[in-house]
């Protein structure tokens, strides 16, 4: 167990280093972009004098490394800095965008896991037969449709033609839970591809697990079929699916820009998009820190679960 603990500690340290690297990379790349917050602020009247004035007011005329140093110093005290574009604290931006994104991600994952695993197990049980072929071809087909295309299609049919759901979340603010109808279409779009990849992975693992001698042994000794499938075979099929699930949750938590933009949901994706457009470096960096940490923690969790499901495989940092 102490081996496992030191492994977790090493992984977390490595994760912090990776997050630092991501933040540095984001800073350098945003610096490298033509234009800065002052140019974006000046908007339609790119008067060089005015830009210089704004730049001085924002403190952008100071060397890059000093600005970065200040920002890092603040971060160590839990201060994400101040937005250049609006002057509001970055943490406020993050907090506002976090709610809708987490809500969308939670609802999606709560539906994704049972549907994905259930379809995968069902397809594996009926391997090669009609049900399996139906599930396999449907999942492959849906997987091939990108989010924006599926989103536009769903909006056209269910919102504009049939009028069942609102086409966007405009006007609902950040409190989307009060308007569940507005969540249906975005969640469907978010679910579509992850369900496919998850169910295909579960199907592949489950076919192997169902054919394994230990499964036959459990059946032979009178364990009921449902329990054999879900308690004895399924744990062996889940290791690859767990990794995929972690990537999916990560993708969801980092704000799926396309979906948030399409349905006008004020989540982290929208915050990111606006911040990049405004060259609002502190906000972009704050997001990079949050996304980086989320990725590190989720992957660590997935590796721990995988280790539990496939205890023979060693843990490698």
């Amino acid at each position: 167990m102490s081996g496992l603990r030191s492994w977790i500690a090493r992984r977390l340290l490595l994760g912090v280093a990776q997050t630092v690297a991501v933040v540095l990379l984001v800073f350098v790349l945003t610096e490298a972009l033509p234009g800065d917050a002052a140019v974006a602020f000046a908007g339609d009247q790119p008067d060089p004098e005015r830009i210089a004035a704004v730049r001085e007011a924002m403190g952008l005329d100071r060397p890059a490394h000093i600005r970065l140093g200040e920002w890092v110093g603040g971060l160590l005290h839990g201060d994400f800095g101040t937005s250049l574009a609006s002057g509001r604290p970055v943490s406020g931006f993050l907090a506002d965008g976090f709610g809708p994104t987490v809500l969308l991600a939670t609802v999606t994952v709560l539906l994704l896991v049972p549907v994905g695993v259930g379809l995968g197990v069902l397809a594996a049980r009926r391997e090669g037969r009609f049900t399996d072929r139906l599930i396999s071809s449907a999942t492959l087909g849906v997987y091939a449709v990108p989010e924006f295309a599926l989103g536009v299609l769903l909006v056209t049919v269910f919102a504009l033609r049939l009028g069942w759901f609102p086409p966007t979340a405009v006007g609902y603010g950040t409190d989307l839970l009060a308007h569940p109808a507005a969540l249906v279409l975005p969640v469907l779009v978010l679910l579509a591809r992850p369900v496919c990849s998850l169910s295909r992975l579960v199907r592949a693992g489950m076919i192997d697990a169902l054919a394994a001698p230990y499964t036959a042994h459990a059946q032979r000794y009178g364990i009921p079929g449902f329990r054999v499938r879900y308690a004895h075979a399924l744990p062996n099929a889940l290791a690859p699916a767990t990794q995929q699930l972690a990537r999916t949750v990560d993708w969801l938590l980092c704000g799926v820009v396309v979906v948030e933009a399409l349905f006008v949901i004020p989540g982290l994706g929208t915050v990111l998009m606006n911040a990049v457009a405004d060259r609002d470096i502190p906000v972009v960096q704050g997001l990079a820190v949050v996304f980086g940490l989320a990725t590190v923690v989720l992957n660590l969790g997935a590796d721990l679960v995988t280790h539990r499901l496939a205890p023979r495989s060693g843990v490698a940092a």
Partner: protein, 514 residues
């Protein structure tokens, strides 16, 4: 003859898959407390018959005949680990089984009753310290513990018949001993044991009834003493023939030194967990001799073989060929050095690419290691394979269509095409039935005697296989505890471990006493 009621009755059982008959009109009766041994070479239909008792048949099988079983049946497969779920703790299946049995009890008492049953089954299977054991994963158990857990499952089931499939195949003498004792104690509990085995030592010791199978048919059956002592059918006689005693190499022909191991210390693992697993202060191989390396599983036999062949680099000390040190890694060895030390693996099937004909793969050695032309190499491969008894139409097939024994011969041929000085044979006969094993060892004898300057390192856990070697090295816990001529080791062992190994080998017949 006991006149107990019949627990299981197979009558006129025929199993066909795609028109191929696996089992042909087999009849069998099993009585409580007896051990019925089903013996025969690989592919004789033993396992198909055994699984038929469990009501399990190969996919797409056409089954005729009758199988009547009274009571539940337990199963111990050849590899117990294969039926233990790698993702669940050992206790998971046991607990689920016990829960099925206590469903009639009131809800509050089920848990305790189930736990009680599991504990009893484990105790019956001679597994002490059960509570701790149940929390472990199968890979954290030793092979013996795995086998006992599988036995405990059968006992928990309340099995009245136990089918044990090759429980001792590929095990060293001391492990075999333990398995035999265990099965004997199961039979004493009144459980009928159906033993599927080609290990005749075990059959001799345990069986009350013997059924000899060949090509899916029963060729002879009867009480054990009758069948084993006075076999009627010629096939049974061939199966029962004594292991070979003629030495592999001609006596007194050992010549000059070929290979020398000097101060070898091999390690396993990496980083902080790097542990020494093998120490060999010195070992010499001479032309024309056969050195057998014996020891239990995990004693370092294979690591030694792998160090010689350059497959295990993590070692100190030197391996010298003709006085020249060989590079540790195979990657750094020259073509001549690679050709000089050839390795034949235990699992011949895994050692061949399943998608290319055997002949091409055998010929490739001569092209790669000796720079022979394609045509020339193929011709030589065909000749060598024919010498080893593999016909032309056979070797043009894919490896999947050859039997284990045939593939092992092909693997030998492949190594020979390099014209090696040292041939390392790693457990090449384990898992083969006695008839196939004998013919493979006969072949090895011909090779050692005919090929000038060849020396063979024979890694084995089987004393009968090691006995005809020129010299024997005994390994225990990574140390060479004794090296000597065959006569000295077999008749006057000096080290206590060698003595224990000889004693555990149940039948120290003519093979071991030259």
């Amino acid at each position: 003859m006991k006149q107990d009621p019949v627990l299981a009755d197979i009558d006129g059982l025929t199993v066909e898959v795609d028109g191929q008959v696996l089992v042909d009109r087999v009849g069998l009766r099993i009585r409580p407390g007896t051990v019925t041994a089903l013996v025969g070479a690989s592919g004789s239909g033993k396992t198909t018959t055994g699984l038929a008792l469990l009501g399990e048949y190969p996919a797409g099988a056409r089954v005729t005949g009758e199988v009547v079983v009274h009571g539940r049946i337990g199963f111990i497969p050849q590899h117990p680990a294969s039926v233990l779920n790698p993702a669940r703790r050992v206790g998971a299946l046991l607990r689920d089984m016990a829960r099925q049995q206590v469903r009639d009890l009131p809800r509050t008492r089920r848990r305790a009753a189930a736990r009680q049953r599991v504990a009893e089954a484990l105790a019956d299977a001679q597994l002490p310290d059960a509570a701790e054991l149940l929390r472990r994963y199968p890979h954290q158990l030793s092979g013996g513990q795995q086998q006992r857990v599988v036995l405990a499952q059968a006992l928990l089931l309340g099995a009245r018949v136990l089918v044990a499939d090759e429980p001792t195949t590929g095990q060293d003498a001391l492990t075999k001993r333990r398995v035999v004792d265990q099965l004997a104690s199961v039979a004493r509990r009144g459980i009928a044991v159906l033993l599927l085995s080609h290990d005749l030592d075990v059959v001799r010791e345990l069986a009350d009834e013997v059924v000899v199978m060949r090509g899916g048919r029963v060729v002879e059956k009867g009480p054990a003493h009758k069948v084993l002592e006075n076999p009627v059918h010629p096939w049974t006689r061939e199966l029962l023939a004594e292991p070979r005693t003629v030495p592999y190499a001609e006596e007194g022909r050992a010549g000059t030194e070929v290979l020398r191991v000097d101060g070898l210390v091999a390690h396993h693992g990496a980083g902080g967990s790097r542990v020494p697993v093998l120490r060999v202060a010195g070992l010499t191989l001479r032309t024309g001799e056969c050195l057998a390396v014996v020891g239990r599983s995990g004693s370092g036999k294979t690591t030694l073989a792998r160090c010689l062949a350059g497959l295990h680099r993590d070692h100190r000390g030197q391996v010298l060929l003709d006085g020249e040190p060989l590079p540790r890694s195979l990657r750094d060895r020259s073509r001549e050095q690679l050709a000089a030390v050839q390795y034949v693996f235990q699992d011949a099937r895994a050692a061949f690419d399943g998608h290319r004909p055997v002949l091409d793969q055998v010929a490739r050695t001569a092209v790669r290691l000796r720079g022979a032309g394609r045509e020339e190499a193929t011709a030589e491969a065909r000749r060598t394979l024919a010498d080893l008894g593999l016909g032309d139409d056979l070797v043009r097939r894919l490896p999947g269509l050859l039997s284990g024994g045939e593939l092992q011969r092909a693997a030998l041929a492949r190594a020979l095409l390099a014209r090696p000085r040292v041939l390392v044979c790693d457990e090449i006969t384990s898992g083969l039935d006695p008839v196939t094993r004998r013919s493979l060892l006969d072949l090895l004898t011909v090779l050692v005697r005919q090929r000038d300057g060849l020396c063979v390192v024979l890694i084995t856990h089987d004393l009968d296989t090691a006995a005809p070697a020129t010299r024997i090295a005994v390994l225990d816990g990574g140390e060479v505890v004794e090296v000597g001529d065959r006569e000295q080791i077999l008749t006057a062992p000096r080290h206590p471990f060698t003595v224990a190994l000889l004693r555990a080998s149940t039948r120290r017949g003519s093979a071991v006493r030259p």
